[in-house]
Every structure is written in structure tokens, then in C-alpha cells.
């Protein structure tokens, strides 16, 4: 690997861990690192070091600084614009839920195109979308509020309802969904309870 390629990796990592931070803070860190790595390469080349050795040296500096990068990002994010950060997190969560729901609903949609055994009406898709979206929202809320059991409990209730409804309606997919939702809620509640103060 060339030194320039490793410099590009450092720049990529800097952009990655400064994302969502205030522009001036992010820009300063990115520009400062660019100058540092440029000076590093120039110095090593002037000393007659080979490309691989220079790249290795830059990679080692980047790797040794990773824990400090993460700690720095946390401290900057804590001290700046909590409102903006919260809004961005919420938007990301909603987009994630929407994408996962759409991907899952693609399965029966494609199934209808390729097989006569799958026959979903509009109402089925709407019901499934509400069920998946609602479950996703509850799991997101559960993950964000450690120690509050109301969201995992609500998700578990939906899961239990899905199992009962699926059994009565002979819908094994719904039963599987309910089971997975209950397991996921329990795991999330356990994990967040461990993290809560």
C-alpha cells in the first residue's frame, strides 16, 4: 500500500468519527490530520523510507489513536448541540425502521409475482406494515431508554398477540414474527437493564 492510500484511509476515518459533529470542530480535526499526515509522509520520504514502511507507520499511529478518537467524539458530542444530535438520531431511527419494514414487505410482494401460493391484499400489507413499523418503533424506544420496561413490555404484548392471531388464522409467518419479537424484546430489556445506572 502506498503512503497516499494510507493517508486516504486516515482521512476517511477522520470524516467517519467527526460525522454529525459541528462543522467547525469536524473541519478543524480533519484539516489538522491532513497536515500532520502530509508532514509525516514528506519527512519519511526525505529520510529515504520506503512506501510500505511509511504506510505502516501512518496506520500504526491511526490505530493507536482509535480509543482517543472515540473518547474525543463522545466528549464533543456531549458538549455540543444535543437538540440537533437528538433530531438526527430520531430521523436515522425512522429511516432504519422504514427500510427494514419495506425490505420485509418485499418478500410477500415478490412472492405474489412468482407464485400462486402467496395472495396478499392491500389490507394485509397495511396490517403487516403497521405491525412491523410499530414493533420497530417500540424496540428503538426500548434501546434508547435503558431501565424503562414499558417499551419492551409493549413489544412483548404485540408479539404475544401476533402468536395468538397467527395460531387462530393459521399464519405460521405471524407466529414466527411474534416469537422473534418476544425474544428480541427480552434480549433488549436484559441488555439495557445492564447498562442503566
Amino acid at each position: 500500500m502506498t503512503a497516499e492510500r494510507m493517508a486516504a484511509v486516515v482521512a476517511w476515518w477522520a470524516r467517519r468519527y467527526t460525522r454529525d459533529l459541528p462543522d467547525s470542530v469536524a473541519r478543524r480535526r480533519i484539516d489538522e490530520l491532513e497536515a500532520d499526515v502530509h508532514d509525516h509522509i514528506a519527512h519519511e520520504r526525505a529520510d529515504g523510507a520506503g512506501e510500505a514502511r511509511i504506510a505502516l507507520g501512518i496506520a500504526a499511529r491511526m490505530l493507536r489513536g482509535l480509543p482517543a478518537d472515540a473518547a474525543w467524539r463522545r466528549s464533543v458530542a456531549r458538549s455540543t448541540t444535543p437538540e440537533v444530535t437528538r433530531m438526527r438520531r430520531t430521523t436515522r431511527s425512522l429511516v432504519r425502521i422504514g427500510l427494514v419494514t419495506a425490505c420485509i414487505l418485499l418478500v410477500p410482494a415478490v412472492g405474489m409475482l412468482v407464485s400462486d401460493g402467496v395472495d396478499w391484499g392491500v389490507a394485509d400489507f397495511v396490517f403487516a406494515a403497521l405491525l412491523l413499523g410499530g414493533a420497530g418503533l417500540l424496540l428503538e424506544l426500548a434501546a434508547r431508554t435503558p431501565g424503562r420496561l414499558v417499551y419492551p413490555a409493549a413489544a412483548t404484548a404485540i408479539g404475544a398477540g401476533a402468536i395468538l392471531f397467527g395460531e387462530a388464522d393459521d399464519a405460521p409467518g405471524l407466529v414466527l414474527f411474534g416469537g422473534l419479537l418476544i425474544l428480541g424484546s427480552a434480549a433488549l430489556a436484559f441488555r439495557t437493564a445492564q447498562r442503566s445506572p
Partner: protein, 117 residues
């Protein structure tokens, strides 16, 4: 990384102040990140340069404490390379660095005037 006691500096931060003080005494008060990493490597007799994240986090903390000040170098002086961020000891920084280098409690971490909120 060692845990910070309130109102004290970490060993790396003391080391940075030491290098900054030495440069100031040599009549070259300004320094940039890579030059600092090199100077610390020479001082330690080590082969490795300080990690990027470790170095710039420490510089940021020293600036927060008011021990260092920084500015971007003039674009006019830059020829085909990225602009460097230049650091310099403040008056308080020089006092703390001097204390750390010559004080009787050399083994104890140097104290800073106040801890930022």
C-alpha cells in the same frame, strides 16, 4: 490511558508542555502536531510516534485548560501543502510547564489552576 485526577495533568499533557517550553526557550515558540510528535519521540528515545487521536485529544485538552493557544498558519506561507495548526504556550501554560519541569514535586502530576466545567 491513565485516569485524570481533577485539577491535574496526564503524563502525556505534561510531556507536551515540556516540549513546548523547550521550544519557547529555543526561540521557536510555535509548533505543529507532527513536529511535536517527532520531538516527543526523540525525547523518549522511542521508535513510535504518538497516535493521531491521542495527540490531538491531548492538545485540545491543553487548549481547553488555557495552557496552549492555537491558530491556523497563514495561507501565504504554505506552498503546495495543507495549512498547519500552530500551537503556542500561554503565560499560564509556561508557568505550569516550568513548575512541572523544575518543581520539587516532580513525580506528582502538575496541578493546573482550574478545571473547566
Amino acid at each position: 490511558m491513565p485516569r485524570r485526577k481533577p485539577g491535574t495533568l496526564l503524563p502525556l499533557e505534561t510531556e507536551i508542555l515540556g516540549v513546548a517550553l523547550a521550544r519557547q526557550r529555543d526561540g521557536e515558540p510555535s509548533f505543529h502536531g507532527f513536529a511535536l510528535a517527532q520531538a516527543m519521540r526523540e525525547q523518549r528515545g522511542s521508535k513510535a510516534l504518538t497516535g493521531h487521536g491521542t495527540l490531538y485529544k491531548a492538545l485540545g485538552r491543553l487548549e481547553e485548560f488555557g495552557l496552549l493557544a492555537s491558530r491556523w498558519e497563514d495561507a501565504a506561507g504554505v506552498e503546495g501543502r495543507p495549512r498547519r495548526r500552530l500551537y503556542e504556550l500561554t503565560g499560564e501554560g509556561a508557568r505550569v510547564a516550568g513548575q512541572a519541569a523544575a518543581g520539587p514535586a516532580r513525580d506528582r502530576p502538575p496541578r493546573i489552576a482550574s478545571e473547566p466545567a
